[in-house]
């Protein structure tokens, strides 16, 4: 089943009186349960793409279909893990994770239980009553992700969620994310600037062009699941996929203004 369908989506921004095209003619179908990653040079409109998909931003041209229906306004069936963790600093870890459930009127007991289960799964047990400033970057990003998972949205958008983390923490979190996803098989659209991460996680990788961003290539990843992100790099198929995609990505990165 096609979960998300973008056809010929463009988006312009006006800055200093000039119209700048951030995205031009993006067409993309994402099926239910698919893990799709998007890579591209910086400034190619990757975040714009996610903002349009969840309805925070309207496309200038083209249409977005969610389960076949045209999108109007914010789509609350979609979860959005932003690049900055955006945890509410005045709420403890537990209260942050419970926030979407609180919004939805879930009873206190159930809220507690659902949050606790996820907190436990990502290894944050014992930190429930800490405020965000008391947590490390990796912990905050884990909290950010489970805050979205806790209300079980059908589609999850992730905007470079591991971007600011160190290499080891990234690997750990990639592994955790894949395990969480294996359990629930949600549809995920995951943006990253790290091609290795894109290949390791995805069913299909989308390479975007430099601005105005459009789809340059969509490439399936021929690796079985579950995957071992710690040793994937030795796999011949991983390297081949990586190399093919890198040729495309490199060309675009060179075109983009540094």
């Amino acid at each position: 089943m096609t979960m998300l369908s973008l056809s010929d989506v463009s988006r312009d921004f006006i800055t200093r009186g000039k119209t700048i095209q951030a995205m031009a003619g993006v067409s993309l179908d994402v099926s239910a349960g698919e893990f799709l990653t998007v890579v591209g040079p910086s400034g190619c409109g990757k975040s714009t793409l996610l903002n349009i998909v969840c309805g925070l931003l309207a496309p200038s041209r083209g249409s977005v279909l969610y389960k076949g229906a045209r999108l109007t306004g914010v789509n609350t069936e979609i979860g959005y893990v932003t690049q900055a963790d955006n945890l509410y600093p005045w709420r403890t870890l537990r209260e942050n994770v419970e926030f979407p459930l609180e919004i939805r009127g879930v009873a206190r007991g159930e809220r507690r239980a659902r949050a606790a289960a996820l907190i436990e799964r990502v290894g944050l047990a014992g930190f429930e009553d800490h405020y965000p400033y008391e947590l490390s970057g990796g912990m905050r990003q884990r909290a950010n992700i489970i805050r979205t998972l806790v209300y079980d949205p059908e589609v999850i958008l992730m905007d470079e969620p591991f971007g600011p983390l160190d290499a080891q923490t990234r690997l750990l979190l990639q592994d955790q994310l894949l395990k969480l996803w294996d359990g629930a098989r949600k549809t995920i659209v995951f943006i990253t600037h790290d091609l290795g991460e894109a290949v390791a996680l995805a069913d299909r990788v989308v390479v975007m062009t430099a601005r105005p961003g459009t789809v340059r290539r969509i490439c399936p990843v021929p690796l079985e699941r579950p995957r071992d992100v710690f040793h994937l790099h030795d796999d011949e198929r991983f390297r081949q996929t990586y190399d093919t995609l890198w040729d495309d990505l490199e060309a675009e990165v060179r075109r983009a203004p540094a």
């Binding site: 969840c54 925070l56 914010v74 789509n75 609350t76 979609i78 979860g79 959005y80 932003t82 900055a84 955006n86 509410y88 600093p89 005045w90 709420r91 403890t92 926030f99 979407p100 609180e102 919004i103 939805r104 405020y131 965000p132 400033y133 209300y151």
Partner: protein, 259 residues
């Protein structure tokens, strides 16, 4: 460390008092500057007669009611204008102008309008806290990180939920610090009002004593005011630390101040 700090502070305070007492009658004329012992005797007298308590109560009541009135109105208008962008822009110069009026200039008018009783002081005190809390609330709500609100919207929050669960707590540091500054300002308003025309209150007493050249009584009144402000500050700092407990310690305003 804390004990050492406390000891030095006590020592400094005592040194000032001792020097003052020693200088009174030798270097300086106690007729103009009074002296610690004279003040202490006077305060004891006041407490014994019961005058101090009565006047203090009046001033505190004016301060408190003025503070509540001003800050409730300030927060309400701040919330309203933060949502009505155009109205806020229309009113902006008028608000700046109104806030620019020196409150001392308003005091006589308020006494004409609201009488020499407590009401005129309450209104005067409230005009001071009103602008503080209005600006605090308005700017605080304007400064809320838009991503906080958008993320809540995507999670399915209603506008009402976004306001109460996201915007308001995010603006809390601004509002709390405005409220904190508002208390001593409210007291200033009450005192100015009492200076102008009153028949009760600490400000009235200080004014009255000064007119009689009774500097001991005037300084006693001022000392009582000082102690009140220090007590308020202590309570407010604690309150702030509790409400803003989610912030790293070194970033709260109270941590930057001398404890």
């Amino acid at each position: 460390m804390r004990l050492r700090l406390l000891a030095w502070r006590l020592g400094f305070g005592l040194a000032v008092l001792v020097l003052w007492e020693a200088a009174a009658g030798r270097v300086i004329d106690p007729f103009w500057f009074s002296s610690p012992l004279r003040i202490a005797r006077h305060l004891i007298e006041w407490v014994r007669e019961g005058t101090l308590f009565g006047h203090l109560l009046v001033t505190l009541r004016e301060t408190f009611l003025g503070f509540v009135l001003g800050s409730v109105a300030g927060i309400a208008v701040g919330v309203a204008l933060s949502r009505l962008e155009f109205v806020a822009r229309v009113l902006d110069p008028f608000i700046v102008a109104a806030n620019g009026i020196p409150r001392v200039a308003l005091a006589p008018l308020f006494i004409i309008w609201f009488g020499i009783g407590e009401l005129s002081k309450i209104v005067l005190a409230s005009t001071l806290t009103f602008f503080l809390t209005f600006y605090g609330t308005f700017s605080g709500l304007r400064a809320v990180e838009p991503a906080y609100q958008e993320i809540a919207r995507v999670m399915g929050a209603s506008e009402r939920q976004i306001f109460f669960k996201v915007s308001l707590p995010a603006a809390a540091p601004w509002i709390v610090s405005a409220l904190k500054v508002g208390v001593p300002f409210s007291l200033i308003g009450a005192i100015i009002g009492e200076f102008m025309a009153a028949s009760r209150g600490l400000g009235y007493m200080i004014q009255f004593s000064t007119n009689q050249f009774d500097t001991t009584a005037a300084v006693s009144g001022i000392l009582v005011l000082m102690v009140c402000v220090m007590l308020f500050n202590g309570v407010l700092n604690r309150l702030e630390r509790y409400v803003l407990r989610w912030r790293p310690r070194e970033r709260t305003a109270s941590a930057r101040e001398l404890q």
